[in-house]
Subunit: 198 residues, 2 copies
């Protein structure tokens, strides 16, 4: 038996999503066949609205419904601190902490020579241009703590340092609740180096 | 910052899917924001076609594009053997083995008093009715090998035995490639009991 064409197609499209393999895609497609039409229509509408109503903020490239995102529109945010992140999902993660009240700049990826991602593929030009018309006192680099995040941070720091008095980077060390015994050597080593005075 | 409404809605709808938690739903929604419009449209179309073009076979309740599914339509299949399975996905799994050439009956679930699923919620009446107009020599019960599958198999066997000369059930034992040492006691016990003469 061949799997029916419409089912095959749905499985194919679903398995293009990140983290969804062929088996999961089949399970999702079969689930939708069992679901009532209305619920599938709701999902479809939500996806279409997502694409039509949300775009990137023209200033910081965070997700926005209007031309500027909610954060850039908010006069209460500290306009003098700029936090550079990789993706819009990082903005959501940092906002959840309630520890940051400045503005963001989403560069939209990470430098990766192996995947062919160079500086021109990221929104780095757009970041540099912000210094021309904004008064920024501090830039916080909040990229991932892996090799590529490291490289990109160093690259950005070199570019930005002539433009702003303070360039910082989020701390790396033992995660909260983390067990020293189970932490890897690189993390422990970094935690030792970056120790704080009590 | 509030997450933008259309994003929130997409996350909500996606997290209704089985095995998709809130975090995965957010990752999928953000992925779709980055994907070009055309690809999202393709996915949406595939899902809508899935719902409009595929329905349940009027005879065996397998997935079908026409009134009858491909298997029920095929005159080369052995019309005398009926394999009872829980879901359409089980038909796909069994068809992949190329070991079965009869017909199917998809009951659409499993008896589960705890979840409130009784015989009237499954396509058991429809199964019984098939014996009136089809000449069936053997019914193979191919339900899952867990407690609920067990219970449902025994329930069905009692119902069907007066109607057909042979009611069988797929073997339970050590999975192929399975290591005796790592198999659970219930499986080893069953494999011992159901041992075959060489």
């Amino acid at each position: 038996m061949q799997i029916a064409e419409p089912l095959l197609k749905a499985i194919e499209e679903l398995s293009k999503l990140p983290g969804i393999g062929r088996k999961t895609a089949q399970r999702l497609a079969l689930f939708m066949l069992k679901t009532n039409d209305e619920d599938v229509q709701k999902l479809v509408n939500a996806l279409l609205e997502l694409k039509t109503k949300i775009h990137f903020c023209s200033k910081c490239y965070n997700l926005a419904v209007d031309d500027l995102c909610e954060i850039c529109q908010n006069p209460k945010r500290d306009q003098g601190i700029l936090c550079v992140v990789e993706e819009a999902s990082d903005v959501i993660a940092i906002e959840k902490t309630n520890e940051f009240n400045g503005l963001y700049h989403v560069i939209g990826g990470i430098l990766s020579p192996l995947s062919g991602v160079g500086p021109e593929d990221l929104r780095i030009k757009e970041l540099i241009r912000r210094f021309e018309y904004e008064t920024i006192n501090e830039v916080i680099l909040a990229l991932n703590a892996d090799t590529e995040g490291e490289t990109t941070s160093l690259y950005l720091a070199r570019l930005i340092k002539p433009l702003v008095s303070k360039v910082t980077r989020i701390a790396r060390g033992l995660p909260i609740g983390g067990d020293l015994e189970f932490a890897d050597e690189a993390t422990i080593g970094r935690a030792m180096l970056s120790r704080n005075l009590l």
